[in-house]
Amino acid sequence: MFSAQPLGLTSLLERWQADPGRGACLVAKRELPAREARHVDLPPELDQRLAEALWRRGVPRLYTHQARAFALGRARRDFVVATPTASGKTLCYNLPVFDALLRDERATALYLFPTKALARDQVAEAEALAAATGAELPVAVYDGDTPQAARRLARARARVIATNPDMLHAALLPHHARWARFFAGLRFVVVDEVHAARGLFGSHVANVLRRLARVARFHGGAPSFIGASATIGNPGEHAARLFSRAVEVLDESGAPSGARTFFVYNPPVVDRTLGVRASALDAACALVRELEQAGTATIAFVRTRALVEVLVRALGDAGVTGVRGYRAGYLPSRRREVERDLRAGRAHTVVSTSALELGIDIGSLDASIVVGWPGSRAAFWQRAGRAGRRGAPSMAVLIARGEPLDQFVAAEPRWLFDDGVENARTAPDNATVLLAHLQCAAFELPFEDGESFGPLDAAALGEALGLLAREGRVVRAEGRWQWASQVFPAAEVPLRGPADENFLIVDEERGAVIAEVDRRDAPRTIHEGAIHGIEGKLHEVRRLDWAGKKAYVRRVEADFYTQAVTYRKVGVLRVEEEAGPASWGEVRVAERVIGFKKLHLRTHENIGYGEVNLPDLDMHTTACWWTARGHGLPGTDAGEGAEGAAYALRHAAALLMMSDAADVGVAIEGVGDDAAAPAPRIFLYDNLPGGSGLADGLYARRGDVVARARAAVDRCACARGCPACAGAGRRKDAAREILKCLDES
């Protein structure tokens, strides 16, 4: 069976390319040849018990990069591993860590994963390795789900703690004295999936790690830092920012890889006059069906949770059996079951959101179908990398939608294949974030005169603490700054925005909880009348108990799904400063679901509409905005120009602030169709209640932001707008006119 699958895939690919209809849709192809494994013998310095454990687990030799990782870790150097998916990154940190733990019975290690699910997955592997050594090396997950008794045990005995940055920030560090044994022995801090710690979240993680290093030092621990990263453009630079120290980069993989084929699939034009293309989802359905018939294990990535349901359902209707869905919102037990079924080969086809993009072990897959542009080249390669995990031939297909960005990629595939991947950006010295963690650090341990913290040297830190003392947060006595406020600073700073309280989805008839939805998505996905799918089975929301956070649903047979119609409005609450067209201050961003569309499951036609009556989701935050006056553009042109200008400004802003585009919200006001001489207002707001420190920084550098945005649009050689300037398919000319009015001079 193992040999039959690749054969099926190879001949299927030949058939696709030979078929005139199919072949015409495969608009770009790239092949990467198979790569031989480069092995080395187990290093003689490796602790004998660990070497034997590896033998027992079927690892008689190492890949070259694993051996190098071991040597670096043993020399207590800081490094980041940035080899491809499935190249054995986990062993790159487990080797030096377990070697150290075996040699010194007081040594400990901290593993940080971006999500709880990933921590549990990786701990299982670390535990298996620990057990195979025959030594007593307790490995413990410590997160919000860990029961009290297990917490005590972890504090008393664990040699490896696996947790997430949020838990480290709010639980371990504030209680560090109870973890004195653990911090005293701390030899390694491992941060897996460092690319996930980018933007504002990355700023927080970098500062949590500064606090960690400080607390460890107090107890006598001096950990070295190891990072593991998916494909990003700047793994070394990014890890160095996160760890606040120089790191070495390990990106030469010695792992084997089968031949890989990548396609861009552009569905055919079905309406020539309107230029409308066939649905990407239908194309995905057809391709996955053929892959399944060819005996190929396939993962399909779609962009939203709702689309997981639509595609699972469509595949079922098309006669594909054993299709599983996977997304956030499924109960953990269901997710574990899907993972197990995939690993064991009981399920051959899975439809997922980005939830399976990270390193959850789902075994070996042969094909990855990416439906719609996933937002970045890094995300595309990450998803494509889910296929071909065991060195067999594999393939990945990007199916373009009708959207401008997708069509841009279809027209310019070299941009995807040859222009590298995005850098991960983060700003550890964001003043708002730094200030928050400075207070957490002062709470955890009094600062001594002469200490430094991050970018603050002794003098600057003294000055900053003096400012905090004036506000009554700290007091100074005998050369020490002691926390002196009832504020528990870690509770004031959630690392990823306000905690999402989940809404439960309850089957009215069975009285059972069948799924959950986080608060942010609740208004859009479980309003009354919404169709909510779970692995393709449709449920209608009969009643939404907003205060009780429960949606009551009933199983239905329907031929449609629903899509919420939302409306966003930004109102200025207070102007802090303004200069010419630019201002910054406090704003209220109101989002409201005003209704929903019913879309046919197969044709995606709009077949109906429903009303929704839900409260606004309000966010008070800070924003920097520009008002474009005197551009001379008529109504609709001004609107389109503002959209292009906003796109360019947002990307310039994210780049300038070393932030992630998702941290910057964008909104345009003042461009109604009826306005004769509209003066569009472009808001870039902190996408976090209370603000995240980007807006006033942007205002301070407003000249640079506008200049960069203008340069991006002016210098770009593209004909009709692309991701690098005003956005794919956007009107560059109009955007240029709008941007011109935003200069102060």
């Binding site: 504030p174 209680h175 560090h176 004295a177 109870r178 004195a180 010295d429 003043a431 708002t432 730094l434 200030l435 002062a442 709470f443 955890e444 341990l445 009094p446 970018p455 603050l456 040297d457 600057a460 000055e463 900053a464 400012l467 905090l468 004036r470 506000e471 009554g472 947060r473 007091v475 006595a477 005998e478 020490r480 002691q482 926390w483 002196a484 406020s485 009832q486 504020v487 528990f488 600073p489 420190g693 006033d696 920084g697």
Partner: protein, 403 residues
């Protein structure tokens, strides 16, 4: 960003803080050492002596679950800048008391003399920090005192004061004196004895409800963290006099509360004020291995209970104790009483049926008891079916069964 730029940036942000916590410049500043009764040492020390009745030895042992010498114990209570045991919480006032005759010299570590008499001289010492810089000295002094005692008595110290102090010893790089020290936390037994009749089991409430004393002019405990932070910011200690007073009263109440608890445990039939106390004390004795006293408590509780809830609890406790002991006849008697007293409930009938069926091997009596149960439930119907089948083991034709 340059260092200057960053500092300016921080400055702007700090300026937007909620300033209600900012230090108010006090008109006159009272130093900590100028508080009434303060000795100007480091930390500032307060000392009081008073006579307090000592507690019953046997009763104390039941409360502590082991022999526990309340005369050689240290009574400990702290006031802190917060309610969690996180690293930012400072126990700025550490108060403790010991019985003078029973302990060695105030700072000595030598073994102590044996207790004498029923009432003893209680020495209360309180260490108030002028600031975090006094903490180390305070912790060292406390450690000396703890090492000269044979046990610890607190109120909620098991989950708060002791873990917090252990954290402080770690942070000051000192050895904690608490490891392995017998610890009697009065909160748990107080809840068990008085929880049903007191709306709150806070120490102040127990003083009023159990010791019969009302605190006058006491500051609310919830204000204390704010008062100390306010002092740290302003340098004016006048707000702390009330805190020192509050802490002293808490400490003095501990040996007195212990005396009451120990008396009630030692002589439950004479001392208990209601059925709930008897039930709680009975359970303690039962847990301590003295089933006879436990049974006597439950028996008395069942007799004097006027409220249905108390009577129910008493009978159930009695039944459990009798079942453990294997006294089938008495057990059946208790459930008969239950069924008689609560004829609207299934429990008595069903339990009686179980005794008949499983202990006495008398399915007919069991069926009779179960059939008398007032409420028709699934499980009762199953029981009745099973019992009927046991009495008439030959399969009954379907038609006959339904007839």
């Amino acid at each position: 960003m340059s260092g200057r730029e960053l500092i300016d940036n921080l400055k702007r942000r700090i300026a937007r803080f909620d300033t209600s916590a900012a230090p108010a410049r006090a008109a006159s500043r009272l130093r900590v050492a100028e508080l009434p009764g303060a000795r100007d040492e480091r930390p500032v020390r307060f000392h009081t002596r008073l006579r307090v009745e000592s507690s019953d030895v046997a009763g104390t042992a039941v409360l502590a679950g082991a022999a526990f010498d309340s005369r050689r114990a240290l009574y400990l209570d702290t006031e802190t800048t917060g309610l969690s045991t996180t690293a930012g919480t400072l126990p700025f006032l550490i108060g403790y008391a010991w019985f003078e005759a029973a302990s060695a010299r105030p700072t000595g570590r030598a073994a102590s003399a044996q207790p004498t008499g029923c009432a003893g001289e209680l020495c209360v010492e309180q260490l108030l920090m002028r600031g975090p810089e006094d903490e180390r000295a305070a912790l060292e002094r406390l450690a000396d005192r703890v090492r000269s005692c044979s046990g610890l008595v607190t109120f909620n110290g098991r989950s708060f004061d002791v873990p917090l102090l252990e954290v402080r010893y770690v942070l000051s790089r000192l050895r904690s004196p608490f490891a392995e020290l017998p610890h009697l936390d009065l909160l748990a037994p107080s809840r068990r004895l008085f929880g049903s009749r007191m709306s709150s089991c806070r120490l102040v409430a127990l003083e009023e409800g159990v010791l019969g004393e009302r605190r006058e002019g006491d500051i609310g405990g919830h204000l204390i963290p704010g008062l100390y932070n306010e002092y740290l910011r302003s340098g004016d200690a006048s707000g702390l006099a009330g805190v020192v007073d509050h802490n002293r009263r808490d400490i003095v109440s501990m040996p007195r509360l212990l005396a009451v608890l120990a008396r009630k445990v030692a002589r439950p039939l004479e001392e208990a004020e209601d059925a709930y106390e008897l039930i709680a004390v009975g359970r303690m004795h039962l847990g301590g291995g003295d089933a006879d006293t436990g049974l006597r408590c439950f028996e008395r509780a069942a007799r004097i209970a006027t409220l249905p809830r108390a009577r129910r609890l008493a009978l159930v406790a009695l039944a459990h104790a009798l079942r453990r002991r294997g006294d089938v006849e008495a057990l059946a008697g208790v459930w008969e009483r239950y069924a008689r007293d609560f004829p609207g409930e299934n429990l008595g009938y069903v339990e009686l049926a179980k005794v008949h069926e499983h202990r006495r091997r008398d399915p007919a009596a069991a069926l009779k008891a179960a059939a008398a149960a007032p409420e028709t439930t699934e499980s009762l119907l199953r029981r009745l079916r099973r019992l009927r089948a046991r009495i008439a083991p030959t399969p009954v034709p379907r038609a006959a069964a339904t007839a």
